[in-house]
Amino acid sequence: MKINDVILQTVTKIVVFIILTMAVYLFVSGHNSPGGGFIGGLVLASALVLLFLAFDTETIMKRIPLDFKMVAAVGAFIAVATGAASLFLDIPFLSHAYSYFNLPVFGKTGLATVTIFELGVALGVVGVVVTIILSISEDV
């Protein structure tokens, strides 16, 4: 049975970019306003899920040739590694630091090591959600 899903596919093509932008925005702004690694990752994952629903898994996996198990593993690794990094500086596990820098375009910007940790969280969430959805959908 071939389903006519032109509308869904067309809408998806546009909407996915909005969602992805939203995801990146949520992730980056998480430190000071609503957002953060977990939500950013979830939104990103939902964008991918939308793609998988609108098109089919093979097409998408051809365009995004990522092993999402590895993505999750890298995420978990980053989260642990940022914690462990502080051990090398002889400060307690998972201590974070932040400071302000003058960057060319953005001007005075606050950068924090939490962001790296949050990146791990985000990757972990994306990897796990997509892995679960893919394996369930491929099984049935």
Partner: protein, 800 residues
């Protein structure tokens, strides 16, 4: 000098490097690189010998978890250095041997990784001063030996043997851990050295702690009745057997007894348990060794019996602690001395024997003594080594086993003449059992040499023509054989430099000056010598007439063995747990929900009821707005409608409505983070539902019996009530500090204005980190559950 802490870590670091080496170096040569590790360690340990002989000890500490008193503390003294030298020394020889023994097709990378892990763990055991670190390394030896025994994991016997060894030793290990915790409760310290000075003999936990500790020692050292794992562990490749069973793993239990003798040794129970379990093991091992037809199994039983011998001596020696200074103390200190001496001797001759058996297996293709014979002219060097090793084990001169065997006889005879601990009852028992066991030891030693190398050569029973091993394979056993003879002629070098310093660690309260006579080969016509002569005479007679009396082995019914007990208890355990599992694993979601909810009702409801935690306090509540009322009404309506839904789509939609209005609630309460998360999670889970939707069975109205319905209703109402109660009483009781502190200083401390994120990523980052890992594991589990099914081919491999 190399710090001991580092010495323990080196094998582990080397194990990490092996896979990289594996990719670069030819498989044939990888062993030589690995060999560097034990040789370097041996040399660096050996450099400590002079100063340790002078009475020095070395202590170094790295703080690990200081708040619990757990430090990575190493203690190098006379006792630990003997074991350290054995582990690295025999380890080097075993690696040389394995280079020639294992073919390049084997997975050598795994082999050397496991071996290095094991070596590091053993070094950790003997050098650790902290109980918890000691325990960690102790269990690591169990795990790494499990991997080593199951090296040929495609064989069913190997897996069986590995599992048996692991189950037995880990059970003992857990008992030992319990004992350690008791010791900590008694003394308040984790350091073995400090425990020795602070232990209270009258404490109620003293005896239980001692018994549990001994359980650990007995299981590890394969003492009766826990010896059953050792013969099955022989499924490992021969170099492993030589290493595990001559020098290291099984000696860990002996080490434990020696190390804790200053703590528990002065108690009567310790004396009785250690010495009698030891002597039973000595007898039972040697008695059973004679009936074996597989040379390796024979050696396994002989190891059991020799370990029993050492254990007996340590048991007898512990009496010195309670005797104080006096003439009798001399007997007991000498027993301890003999124990240490035999420990070293056993490592040398048993190591050599294991390696020779490996050579015979290699050269003739079998280890079955019924098929072997007449190999003397074909394998002259192996014959010589086997002769030296066996005769030393039998306690004949001029080999080192003779010296320690004489000291053993001396000890049991003198202990029977003294009247400690109301020994009168079993006065004769000790020397008699020891003597009988020695006769059997003599017989099986003769079997090893004469049945294998003399008699008719039967090439038709062998797989291929027998031949001598390549030179490289002979290096290690030759070195050990030379040591066997060398120690006989110069025993006091060993005695003065290694054994005497160790005595000070085992019997710290005894003034050792003048207690221990130098070891001498000739010690006059004393009872020990007469006993040895008797052993030789009776042993020879019995060996020659072995066919006549072999019938005694069939006196015990075939199935009356401890092995069967072990197997049956495993089967029974499996059956019972199967029954329990199938009782609650019904496969109905409904049952699972009921269990979970019942547990919830009992645990949370019970806590609420018994602690009286339901205190309501509405004083500080904000006024309820119209939006909130509307939302609540929507949620209530949606929730009530779900059970009444007529189709699945409706149910899914209603569930979604519930979730989204929850998100709205968060919006109303100004929690944008939560609202966002809730929205996305709701979306993703609805998508998941849609994925499965098409494949779910038809939605049909089930005719549930009225009783089931009633139970469901009661349970759901109870759960609901408890949730409401919890939600309400959360406002009343203040069990924990409020989190508003984070709110106040989130910006100063974490530099973030988003307090939720500051908490997640900074203040409570540890929780978040663990959550990510849990999430990851969950994702992987879903993946493996769905994706990985073992193929037919793999299943066949498993059943070999």
């Amino acid at each position: 000098m190399l710090s001991v802490n580092l010495a323990i870590l080196i094998p582990f670091l080397a194990a990490i490097l092996v896979p990289f080496l594996y990719a670069k170096v030819s498989r044939k040569h990888i062993g030589w690189f690995v060999l560097i590790v034990p040789v370097v360690l041996f040399v660096s340990l050996a450099r400590y010998i002079p100063s340790v002989a002078g009475g020095e000890t070395y202590l170094s500490t790295i703080a690990w978890i200081p708040s619990y008193g757990i430090h990575f503390t190493t203690y190098l003294d006379g006792l630990s250095i003997i074991f350290g030298l054995l582990i690295t020394g025999i380890g080097s020889l075993v690696i040389i041997y394995s280079i020639y023994y294992l073919s390049a097709e084997e997975s050598l990378g795994h082999f050397y990784i496991y071996l290095l892990l094991f070596m590091g763990a053993m070094l950790g055991v003997v050098f650790s001063d902290n109980l918890m670190v000691f325990y960690a390394f102790w269990e690591l030896t169990s795990i790494s030996s499990f991997l080593l025994i199951a090296f040929w994991y495609h064989r069913k016997r190997s897996r069986y043997g590995a599992k048996k060894a692991l189950l037995t030793t880990v059970t003992g290990g857990i008992a030992m851990l319990t004992s350690f915790i008791m010791i900590y409760v008694m003394t308040g310290t984790m350091s073995i050295r400090e425990i020795i000075s602070t232990i209270d003999y009258g404490h109620a936990l003293f005896i239980p702690a001692m018994l549990l500790l001994l359980l650990g020692a007995f299981t590890k050292s394969a003492q009766f009745p826990f010896h059953i794992w050792l013969p099955d562990a022989m499924e490992a490749p021969t170099p492993i057997s030589a290493y595990l069973h001559s020098a290291t793993m099984v000696k860990a239990g002996i080490y434990l007894v020696a190390r804790f003798t200053p703590i528990f040794g002065s108690h009567e129970t310790w004396f009785w348990l250690v010495s009698s379990v030891g002597i039973i093991t000595l007898f039972w091992g040697s008695f059973n060794a004679v009936r074996q037809t597989d040379l390796k199994a024979l050696l396994a039983y002989s190891t059991i019996s020799q370990l029993g011998l050492i254990m007996t001596l340590f048991g007898i020696g512990s009496a010195a602690l309670s005797m104080g200074a006096g003439e009798e103390t001399v007997i007991y200190t000498q027993a301890t001395f003999a124990a240490l001496f035999h420990l070293v001797n056993h490592s040398t001759f048993k190591g050599a024997l294991f390696m020779v058996i490996g050579i015979v297996n290699h050269g003739a293709g079998t280890r079955d003594i019924r098929r072997l014979g007449g190999l003397m002219s074909l394998m002259p060097i192996s014959f010589t080594i086997a002769l030296i090793g066996s005769f030393s084990m039998a306690g004949l001169p001029p080999f080192n086993g003779f010296l320690s065997k004489e000291m053993f006889f001396q000890a049991v005879v003198s202990v029977s003449q003294s009247g400690i601990f109301s020994l009168h009852v079993s006065k004769v028992l000790f020397p008699v059992v020891a003597w009988v066991a020695s006769v059997f030891t003599f017989i099986y030693c003769m079997i090893i040499v004469f049945k294998t190398f003399l008699g008719p050569y039967q090439p038709e029973k062998l797989d291929h023509e027998a031949h001598e091993a390549p030179a490289g394979m002979l290096i290690s056993p030759i070195i050990l054989a030379v040591l066997v003879v060398g120690i006989f002629f110069f025993p006091n070098v060993l005695g003065d430099y290694l054994l005497r310093p160790a005595m000070a660690s085992i019997l710290p309260s005894i003034e050792l000056e003048g207690m221990i006579e130098p070891i001498s080969a000739w010690h006059g016509f004393n009872p020990a010598l007469w006993m040895t002569l008797g052993v030789i005479a009776v042993g020879t007679l019995m060996y020659l007439s072995i066919r006549r009396w072999k019938g005694i082995y069939s006196l015990l019914p075939e199935n009356w063995t401890l092995d069967n007990l072990y197997n049956n208890s495993l089967i029974q355990m499996e059956k019972i747990s199967n029954r329990i599992t199938s009782f609650y694993m019904t496969g109905y979601l409904r049952s699972y929900s009921i269990y979970i909810f019942l547990f919830f009702i009992a645990a949370v409801g019970g806590t609420l009821l018994f602690t009286g935690a339901y205190a309501f306090d509405f004083a500080g509540d904000a006024p309820i707005s119209v939006y909130e009322i509307v939302l609540v009404l929507v949620m209530v309506a949606a929730a009530l409608a779900i059970p009444l839904a007529k189709s699945r789509v409706n149910a899914v939609l209603l569930n979604g409505a519930l979730g989204y209005s929850m998100a709205l609630f968060f919006v109303v309460f100004r929690a944008p983070d939560l609202a966002l998360t809730q929205l996305v999670v709701e979306t993703v889970s609805t998508a998941l539902f849609l994925l499965c939707f098409y494949f779910l069975p038809k939605w049909k109205k089930e005719e549930t019996p009225r009783r089931t319905k009633r139970t469901n209703l009661v349970i759901s109402i109870a759960v609901g009530i408890i949730f409401v109660l919890v939600a309400l009483s959360v406002r009343g009781g203040k069990l924990f500090d409020t989190i508003s502190g984070y709110f106040e200083n989130a910006y100063e401390l974490a530099g973030g204005k988003n307090i939720v994120n500051a908490i997640l990523g900074d203040f409570r980052a540890f929780d978040t980190m663990l959550e990510v890992i849990v999430l990851f594991i969950g994702g992987l589990s879903v993946y493996t559950l769905i994706k990985l099914k073992s193929t037919k081919e793999e299943q066949n491999l498993e059943d070999q």
